[in-house]
C-alpha cells in the first residue's frame, strides 16, 4: 500500500474511504446498433417484427379453431391429450411470437441509448421533514393526545380489547366435544371383526399364511357414513402373521396375538401417515412419508427414523366361527403425539 494513500473511516461505520481512489471515468461512448446506421436493416427488422405480430394473431385464432376441431370424446383419454396439446401449443406459440416481436422491437428499433436519472436521498428534504413534524405537533396540540393522558390510555385500552370478541367468534370452527376424548378412542370394540380394506370382508385366522400382511378395517366401518374417513383415519390396522418363534412378546401382551397373527395401528406415531410398507424377510414396517421403521417382531419398536413411539397394538383373538376379532379398543391413542395424550 502506497504511503500517500490516506484512509478515512466513516463516522460510526466500519467503511473506509481512500484518498487515492480511482475516479469514475464517466460514460462510455454510445454504441451504435446496425439498425441505427443502416436504414435498410431497420426496415427489414420492422417487416420481420410485424410479421411476428401477424403470425401471433393468426396462432391465437388457430387455437380458437383447434378447440372446436378436436373436441373431447367422453371416455376417450386420447382426445383429452390431443385437445390439451394442440390448443396449448397454439396458445404458447402465439404468446411466444408476440413476446419475441415486442422484445425485438424494443431492442432493435426503439431509442437505444441509456438515459440517466438523478437519485436523491430517500429521506424528505429538511423543510418537508420540519413541516411533517409540525403537523404532528399541531395535531397533538389540537387533540391533546399527549396532554390528556387518561383519555389516551383509556382509548388504547378499548382498542386492545376491541378484537377480543373475534377470538370467541372462531370457537365454533370445531364442535363442542373434547378433542382429547375423541382422539383416545377408535371404533374398535371387543368382538369387532377384522375386515379387509377396502372390501370389508371379515378375515378368518385360517386364511392368513405366515409371512403375509393384510390391510385391515373394522367390519362395521361402513355403518359410519358421516364420519367414515375420520374413523378410518384412526382405526386402520395392519395385520401380519409371523412364525410365533420370531415374535418377542412381553408378559402383559401374551394374549394379544393369535398363533403368530399380530395387529398394529397403521397410523404412524410420527405425523400420521399410513405405515403401509411391510418387509417380509426382516419383519420391518416402513412409513413411506418420513421412513420411520418399526420392528414387528419386537412389538413394533422404532428402529429408525423420526418416530419416537412404537405403533400401538390392537389386542386380537378369534371368535366361535374362526374370524379374527378385536379384544378391545386400542389401549392408547393412535397416530401422532399430542401434549394431552397421556392425561
Amino acid at each position: 500500500m502506497a504511503e500517500s494513500d490516506k484512509k478515512v473511516a466513516l463516522k460510526g461505520s466500519s467503511a473506509v474511504e481512500r484518498s487515492g481512489r480511482i475516479d469514475n471515468p464517466g460514460f462510455e461512448p454510445a454504441h451504435q446498433r446496425v439498425h441505427d446506421v443502416n436504414p435498410d436493416k431497420a426496415a427489414s427488422a420492422e417487416r420481420g417484427i410485424s410479421l411476428l405480430f401477424l403470425l401471433s394473431g393468426l396462432l391465437s385464432v388457430t387455437a380458437f379453431v383447434l378447440y372446436f376441431l378436436f373436441p373431447i370424446v367422453p371416455g376417450d383419454l386420447w382426445t383429452v391429450r390431443i385437445s390439451t396439446l394442440l390448443v396449448g401449443v397454439a396458445i404458447a406459440a402465439s404468446l411466444l411470437t408476440l413476446g419475441v416481436g415486442v422484445v425485438h422491437w424494443a431492442k432493435a428499433l426503439m431509442h437505444g441509448h441509456e438515459l440517466v436519472e438523478e437519485r436523491h436521498e430517500t429521506r424528505g428534504d429538511e423543510p418537508t421533514r420540519a413541516r411533517a413534524v409540525e403537523i404532528f405537533q399541531e395535531a397533538n396540540a389540537e387533540s391533546g393526545w399527549t396532554r390528556r393522558r387518561l383519555l389516551r390510555n383509556s382509548l388504547i385500552t378499548a382498542l386492545v380489547a376491541f378484537p377480543v370478541p373475534a377470538i370467541a367468534l372462531f370457537r365454533d370452527l370445531a364442535p363442542a366435544a373434547d378433542p382429547v376424548e375423541a382422539l383416545k378412542h377408535t371404533i374398535w370394540r371387543a368382538g369387532t371383526r377384522l375386515a379387509r380394506d377396502p372390501s370389508g370382508t371379515p378375515i378368518k385366522a385360517s386364511e392368513i399364511s405366515i409371512g403375509s400382511a393384510v390391510h385391515v378395517i373394522p367390519e362395521n366401518l361402513d355403518t359410519y357414513e358421516e364420519t367414515f374417513l375420520n374413523e378410518k383415519a384412526k382405526a386402520a390396522v395392519l395385520l401380519m402373521r409371523l412364525d410365533p418363534a420370531d415374535l418377542n412378546i412381553s408378559e402383559e401382551r401374551k394374549d394379544w396375538s393369535y398363533d403368530g397373527i399380530v395387529a398394529y395401528s397403521k397410523i404412524c406415531t410420527h405425523v400420521g401417515c399410513p405405515v403401509a410398507l411391510y418387509e417380509q424377510q426382516t419383519h420391518h414396517l416402513l412409513c413411506p412419508c418420513h421412513q420411520s421403521q418399526f420392528d414387528v417382531s419386537n412389538e413394533c419398536a422404532v428402529i429408525f427414523g423420526p418416530a419416537a413411539r412404537p405403533l400401538p397394538q390392537l389386542p386380537i383373538s378369534v371368535d366361535a366361527e374362526g374370524y379374527l376379532v378385536a379384544q378391545s379398543d386400542f389401549l392408547e391413542p393412535v397416530g401422532p403425539s399430542f401434549w394431552e395424550r397421556n392425561q
Partner: protein, 538 residues
C-alpha cells in the same frame, strides 16, 4: 381539445388518431390528474441486467396464476360432500370420493382446456416460488437489501412465505391421496405444539382429521385471503421499488447519485411487456407438453393407502426434509404432557432459519454501522463474508431439500436409507461450514485476480524475446471503463474496540467488534491510483 392545445402548444397533435388520443388523455386528466403520474413515472429509468428479470418472472407468473386460477374456480367445487364419481375417467367410475376430487377430475377430463389450465396454474405456481427464491438470492448476493431497501427485503420475504402458503393450500384442494397425506403431515406437526396443538388442529379441521371442513376453508384462504395479502404486498413492494429506484451494477458513469438505463415509456415497458408474453408462452408450452400433478392416478384421499416415494411440491421439500433428518426417539414426558421434540425441533429450526433470512439486512447494518444509502449492487466477490454466509444458507437449504427425497436417493443409487439419512445429517451440520470456508476463499481469490488484472492487464498469450534474450509475456492493459468495473467497490475494516465516553467497553461493543472482525479481517482493498502508477512504472 382546446385545453390540451393550450397546455401543450409545442406538441400540436396532428392527424385524426392523435386528435382522438389527445382528446381522451385530456378527458382523463381533467378528471384524474393523470398527467402528474405520467410526468413523474413515464420516464423513470430502469437499469438493465439479466438478473433484474428474476423479480419480473415472479410478478408475471403471479399474473398467469391469477388468470388460470380464475378459470379453475368456475368449475371447481370446494366441498367434501361424498359423491359417486360418474365422469369419463373409467378407472375411477363409481368410486366414492369428495365433490372436490370429482370436480377436479371433471376439469381434467370433461372440460376442454381444463387440464391445460390446471397444468398452467400448477407450473406457474412452481415457477412463482422458484422465481421469488432466485430473486431473493440475487438481492442477497448483490447486497441490494442494504439501506434504504431493508423494509422492501422484509416485504419480499413475506411474499416468499405467502407464495409457499398459496402453493400448499392450492396443492391440497384436489383432495387426492397425495395432498391428503400432505395435510395429514401438517396435522401431525400442528398437534405437536405443546398445549395448544391439539386445539389448533381441531379448529382447523373442524373436528377430527380429516373432517368435512378443511377443503372449503383452504379454498377460502387460497382464493381470497392469501391472494388479497399477496396483491397488497406486491403493491407495497412495487411502490417501494419506485420510491427507492432500482439498484444498478457498478459501471462507467454509474454512481450512487444516478440511475442509468431505459425509461419506462417506451423501451422498458416494451421489454417488460414482451417479457411477460415470453414467460406466459414458456409456461403455456410446458403446461401443454408436460404433465404435472396427475391426481387421477393417485385416487381420492383415504387415510389408509399411500404409495412409496411420496414427495411434496418442490418448495415444501425443505420442511419435509427437516422432519426426516431428526434422529429417533426425541420425545419426552414433561410436566404431565407429551413433548414431541422430534417435531418441535424441526419446526423451530425452520422458523429460526427463515427468521435469519428475514432479519439479515438489519444484522449486517448493525455489523457495518453503515448509515449511507447504497444503490450500487455489489458483485458477490466484493463482499466475501456475506457471500460465504449466503452460500452456507443455500447449502443448509439444499441439504434439507435433498432430504425430502432421501428414499428416492436410496433407491436410485441402490444404497441404504439409513446411510442416506446419516450422510445428510452430517452434511446438514458440516456442509454449511465447508460452503462458507470455500466460498470465502474463492471470493477473496477472485478479488485478488481482479487486482492483478487491474494492475498488470490481461495476459495476452503473446511472448516476446527481449534483446537480452529474456522471454516475456505481453500484458494488455485495461481501458479506463473496464478498470472502473473492477475497482469500484466499498471497502470495510474491522472496528477497533475503543472505550466509550464513560471509559467502558460494553459487552455489545465487544460483540460488535468480534463480529466485525469475523466479517472484515480477511479483505482485499480496491486498487488505488498510487498503486496503479507504481505498477505501470515496472
Amino acid at each position: 381539445m382546446t385545453v390540451a392545445t393550450k397546455s401543450k402548444p409545442a406538441r400540436q397533435p396532428s392527424g385524426r388518431g392523435m386528435r382522438f388520443v389527445g382528446g381522451a388523455a385530456n378527458y382523463l386528466d381533467e378528471r384524474t390528474s393523470i398527467s402528474t403520474a405520467v410526468k413523474a413515472l413515464g420516464r423513470k429509468i430502469f437499469p438493465d441486467h439479466w438478473s433484474f428479470m428474476l423479480g419480473e418472472i415472479a410478478l408475471y407468473s403471479f399474473i398467469i396464476i391469477l388468470l388460470s386460477g380464475t378459470f379453475l374456480t368456475l368449475f371447481y367445487d370446494p366441498s367434501m360432500t361424498e359423491v359417486h364419481y360418474d365422469g369419463s375417467y373409467v378407472p375411477l367410475k363409481g368410486i366414492h370420493m369428495s365433490a372436490a376430487y370429482s370436480s377436479t377430475l371433471n376439469i381434467t377430463f370433461d372440460i376442454r382446456g381444463g387440464l391445460l389450465m390446471r397444468q398452467v396454474h400448477h407450473w406457474a405456481a412452481l415457477l412463482f416460488v422458484a422465481a421469488i427464491g432466485l430473486h431473493m438470492l440475487r438481492v442477497f448476493f448483490t447486497g441490494a437489501f442494504r439501506k434504504p431497501r431493508e423494509i422492501n427485503w422484509v416485504v419480499g420475504f413475506l411474499l416468499f412465505i405467502m407464495a409457499m402458503a398459496e402453493g400448499f393450500t392450492g396443492y391440497s384442494l384436489p383432495d387426492d391421496l397425495l395432498s391428503g397425506n400432505g395435510l395429514r403431515i401438517i396435522d401431525g406437526m400442528i398437534k405437536a405444539v405443546p398445549g395448544a396443538g391439539l386445539w389448533i388442529s381441531y379448529l382447523l379441521f373442524g373436528g377430527e382429521f380429516p373432517g368435512d371442513d378443511v377443503i372449503p376453508r383452504l379454498y377460502m384462504l387460497h382464493i381470497m385471503l392469501l391472494p388479497a395479502i399477496v396483491i397488497a404486498l406486491i403493491a407495497v413492494h412495487l411502490v417501494l421499488l419506485i420510491v427507492n429506484k432500482h439498484t444498478q451494477f457498478a459501471g462507467p458513469g454509474r454512481t450512487e447519485e444516478n440511475v442509468v438505463g431505459s425509461p419506462i415509456l417506451a423501451v422498458f415497458a416494451a421489454k417488460a411487456g414482451g417479457f411477460f408474453f415470453l414467460v406466459f408462452g414458456v409456461t403455456m408450452l410446458i403446461a401443454s407438453l408436460v404433465t404435472i400433478n396427475p391426481i387421477w392416478s393417485y385416487g381420492p384421499y383415504d387415510p389408509s393407502p399411500v404409495s412409496a416415494g411420496t414427495q411434496p411440491d418442490w418448495y415444501i421439500g425443505f420442511a419435509d426434509g427437516m422432519l426426516r433428518l431428526i434422529p429417533s426417539g426425541w420425545e419426552f414426558e414433561v410436566l404431565g404432557g407429551t413433548l414431541s421434540l422430534n417435531l418441535i425441533i424441526p419446526i423451530v429450526v425452520l422458523m429460526v432459519f427463515l427468521g435469519l433470512v428475514a432479519f439479515y439486512p438489519f444484522f449486517e447494518a448493525w455489523v457495518t454501522g453503515d448509515k449511507r444509502e447504497h444503490h450500487i449492487a455489489e458483485r458477490p466477490r466484493n463482499a466475501p463474508t456475506r457471500t460465504a454466509i449466503g452460500a452456507a444458507g443455500v447449502t443448509f437449504y439444499a441439504v434439507l431439500w435433498a432430504a425430502a427425497s432421501s428414499d428416492l436417493i436410496a433407491t436410485h443409487f441402490r444404497t441404504t436409507i439409513e446411510g442416506v439419512i446419516l450422510t445428510l445429517q452430517i452434511l446438514l451440520v458440516v456442509g454449511p461450514i465447508i460452503a462458507f470456508w470455500l466460498t470465502k476463499k474463492m471470493a477473496l481469490a477472485l478479488q485478488r485476480k481482479d487486482r492483478e488484472v487491474v494492475l498488470h492487464g490481461y495476459e495476452s498469450s503473446r511472448i516476446v524475446r527481449l534483446p537480452g534474450g529474456e522471454y516475456r509475456e505481453i500484458h494488455t492493459p485495461l481501458d479506463d471503463f473496464e478498470k472502473w468495473r473492477l475497482v469500484s467497490f466499498d471497502e470495510f475494516e474491522p472496528i477497533v474496540l475503543r472505550p466509550n465516553d464513560r471509559g467502558r467497553i460494553t459487552l455489545s461493543a465487544r460483540a460488535k467488534a468480534s463480529v466485525s472482525k469475523f466479517y472484515f479481517e480477511d479483505r482485499i482493498a480496491p486498487v488505488t491510483k498510487p498503486e496503479l502508477e507504481s505498477a505501470s512504472q515496472h
